[in-house]
């Protein structure tokens, strides 16, 4: 492969010895940065698709029976398929690949001072399996009977019996795609953990590792420890659906609730799997733009550990009313509310970090701060759902939906924009436009709140999720409720259209943006000591580490930052 001659593609860096061809450079590369970009672009494209799905079904909710521009009429069948795939795509094919795989791949070697991942070929393979899972999911949209519409949670018997879901092929392909995605992330996760444990630059001790690397590694470990039973469960579900076994069929001795245990034993830790990388990204950004040392570095780690461990003990709060033994609910109420302690403490740490800073509000900082402001809403509303008593009422209403969008949108959308705007100079060697960045920021964050605050109210008023048309329910047809639903939908339209600003900014800056210096934000961590963008191998001479990552504004020093690789 090294000998490939470039065909039909002008080499951009003519100074290198032999420029690999298009396929070798963009599709078959083992370079961690290229694989990160593959994950980033694939994941972002999937986010656009998921956003499009949201646009279609929200339009149907606000204007029932409307022919949605770009889609057409939405049948109940299609509605179910759209919400199912919106959820699955946003979590499995957007949040996971972008937050863990893209940032993990890009940042781990660069931040720990290594030239690549420990296993570059396995890294490439993990992306390829991920890509395969995307393709299988796409195929599932177009097979006979249509795409799977049994919610991303795939509860049997609906998902286990073709007679009930009426999408025999769609269901099989959907479950297969999810299982393949898990395999890809198991491989990728092992690579991340091993690389961060073993390939650190000389001198980098445990507490010199940037928080975001810690968080991605912890997330990978939590993922690894929680997904196994669901992998086994997915096999069982596929057997039930296609071979006629009865693992989840109550009529023949199976138990549908078992699936719920397997699913949520993974599903709840999964929230923290995507949360931790996002809070890691936020930690990097607020320290740089507040010129402050991270408040109580070790406490942040302990809270992350604590959240990780506790996340394995809370899964059944998704099943309070699912027919489990009512006594179990008491145990899970306690564990669930306990998890608010480390998460609240983590937010307190971030707020405390701002104290005494010298804060500037560039685009990445705006994103990072808005993460804290909005995630707090997601956090406090979780208490209503963790408390078994109120969950009886709120379960599966729009309150739940608004709650987890107030966690997942800050995590996935805001976290991604924070990370991309912050590391864009390093990724592509050019600067983004700050003014367009700010327009995009306000155009995203304001409508985001206007979508989901009305949905909290609608949820408390008794509106349930996953219902195709509320006007059939006399109580839900009240004009004020329909108006709130319209407000949410219109806000979504506004939010989605503002993404065009980002895309324009991104692609324009990619070609025409001002050239980025090595360290545009005056940051301490190692990735900023490499060229922008770093070449294959990252550094000519690999760095050595002398101190922790957050030594900003150290008294007695002329500069207000102190890079990790500078001896003194």
């Amino acid at each position: 492969m090294a000998e490939t001659i470039p065909v039909g593609h002008a080499p951009e860096h003519a100074h290198e010895h032999h420029e690999p061809g298009f396929v070798a450079k963009y599709l078959w590369s083992t370079d961690h940065k290229m694989i990160a970009m593959q994950y980033l672009f694939t994941g972002s494209a999937m986010a656009l698709l998921g956003g499009f799905f949201a646009y279609v079904f929200r339009s149907q909710l606000a204007f029932p029976g409307m022919s949605v521009p770009g889609f057409g009429l939405v049948s109940p069948n299609e509605y179910n398929a759209l919400i199912t795939n919106h959820g699955a795509i946003m979590i499995f094919w957007f949040a996971m690949p972008v937050l863990i795989a893209a940032f993990g791949n890009f940042l781990i070697p660069l931040m720990i001072g290594a030239d690549d991942m420990a296993f570059p070929k396995i890294n490439r393979l993990s992306y390829q399996i991920f890509l395969l899972s995307v393709l299988v999911l796409f195929v599932s949209f177009f097979v006979e009977g249509g795409a799977f519409g049994g919610a991303w949670t795939m509860y049997p018997p609906l998902s286990a019996t073709a007679e009930y879901n009426q999408t025999p092929l769609g269901t099989t392909l959907f479950v297969t795609a999810v299982a393949l995605e898990f395999v890809a992330f198991l491989m990728g996760g092992i690579n991340f953990v091993v690389t961060a444990m073993n390939s650190r630059a000389p001198g980098m001790r445990m507490y010199d590792i940037p928080i975001v690397v810690w968080m991605i590694v912890l997330a990978s470990i939590i993922f690894m420890a929680s997904v196994g039973p669901l992998v086994a469960g997915a096999v069982m579900l596929l057997f039930d659906h296609n071979l006629g076994t009865a693992f989840f069929d109550p009529k023949r001795g199976g138990d549908p609730v078992l699936w719920q245990h397997l699913f949520w034993f993974f599903g709840h830790p999964e929230v923290y799997v995507v949360l931790l990388p996002a809070v890691g990204i936020v930690a990097e950004i607020i320290t740089v733009f507040a010129r402050k040392k991270l408040f109580a570095y070790k406490t942040v780690l302990y809270t992350a550990f604590g959240t990780g461990v506790l996340s394995f003990t809370v899964w059944a709060h998704h099943q309070f009313i699912a027919g489990i033994d009512p006594r179990m609910a008491n145990v899970f109420t306690i564990t669930t509310l306990l998890i608010s302690v480390p998460v609240a403490e983590m937010m307190f740490v971030y707020i405390a970090t701002l104290y005494g800073g010298s804060i500037t509000l560039e685009t990445p900082m705006l994103w990072a701060l808005s993460f804290i402001a909005t995630f707090l809403i997601g956090g406090v509303t979780g208490i209503f759902l963790g408390a078994s008593g109120t969950d009886i009422y709120l379960h599966d209403t729009y309150f739940v939906l608004a709650h987890f969008h107030y966690t997942f949108v800050p995590i996935a959308v805001i976290g991604t924009f924070a990370g991309v705007t912050f590391w864009f100079p390093k990724m592509f060697g050019r600067m983004l436009d700050d003014r367009l960045g700010k327009i995009h920021f306000w155009g995203t964050v304001i409508p985001f709140n206007l979508i989901f605050i009305p949905l909290f109210v609608l949820g408390v008023a008794g509106e349930h999720r996953r219902i195709w048309d509320f006007t059939q329910f006399p109580e839900l047809s009240a004009p004020w409720m329909r108006d709130l639903d319209k407000l949410a939908t219109l806000s979504l339209w506004v939010m989605l259209s503002f993404q065009i600003v980002f895309l324009v900014n991104f692609f324009w800056s990619l070609r025409r943006g001002p050239k980025a210096p090595k360290n545009p934000w005056a940051s301490n961590t190692l990735e900023w000591t490499a060229d922008s963008p770093p070449p294959h191998g990252n550094w000519k001479e690999l760095p050595t580490v002398y101190r922790g990552p957050y030594e900003y504004s150290v008294p007695g020093r002329e500069q207000d930052y102190w890079p990790q690789n500078v001896p003194n």
Binding site: A118, I190, N191, V193, M197, M224, G228, P229, M236
Partner: protein
């Protein structure tokens, strides 16, 4: 893109060779996969007495023989590791071939056993017990088959005294496959 390993692969800040560390993490993630299926099985087993009746139809002697075969093959894997540590590639390769042979015997005996059971009407849909029986043992057999394949590849390079550290890695994996069987055997065959 040279084929040389990145420096990242050769570092060992955690004090353990990168390959071995990775295999341990692979095993950790496999433990939860098998753990999930075994835990589900045990929960069903406790809830349904009918399982014992189905389990009475399993061929305990074949299971026992297979246990013996797998344990023996693990012994060869240990001997292969020892040879590799002494730098004796060809001997390590011979030992790995013997290990793979053990795995193959296991699979052959298993297919005989399954054929017999299926012809007696105990198919995967016969009852929840049989569903678990074929799914759990099948997932394990898949790991045995993949292990054999990798082992043959490792033996091929070890014969030429190359990449000898891999002998230990495949051995670790093989022991894990062995231990999973040690859990499955009593659960599927003996506990009546």
């Amino acid at each position: 893109m040279s084929s040389a390993r990145p420096i990242a692969t050769t570092r060992s800040a955690a004090g353990m060779p990168t390959g071995r560390l990775a295999v341990w993490w692979v095993i950790a993630s496999e433990i939860v996969i098998f753990g999930g299926i075994i835990a589900s099985y045990v929960m069903y087993r406790l809830a349904h007495d009918a399982f014992a009746e189905s389990a009475a139809h399993t061929a305990t002697w074949i299971g026992a023989t297979n246990t013996f075969i797998l344990l023996t093959s693990s012994l060869f894997a240990v001997l292969g590791h020892k040879a590799a540590e002494h730098g004796d590639g060809p001997k390590a390769a011979r030992m790995l071939h013997l290990t793979a042979l053990g795995g193959l015997c296991f699979l052959l005996l298993k297919s005989y056993e399954w054929t017999m059971e299926i012809t007696h009407g105990f198919t995967i849909t016969a009852s929840t017990f049989w569903s678990f029986y074929y799914t759990a043992a099948g997932l394990h057999a898949l790991h045995v088959a993949v292990g054999i394949l990798i082992m043959l590849i490792v033996a091929q390079t070890a014969k030429r005294n190359l990449e000898l550290h891999r002998v230990e890695l495949i051995g670790l994996y093989w022991h894990f496959v062995d231990i999973v069987w040690i859990f499955l055997f009593p659960l599927l065959y003996i506990a009546k």
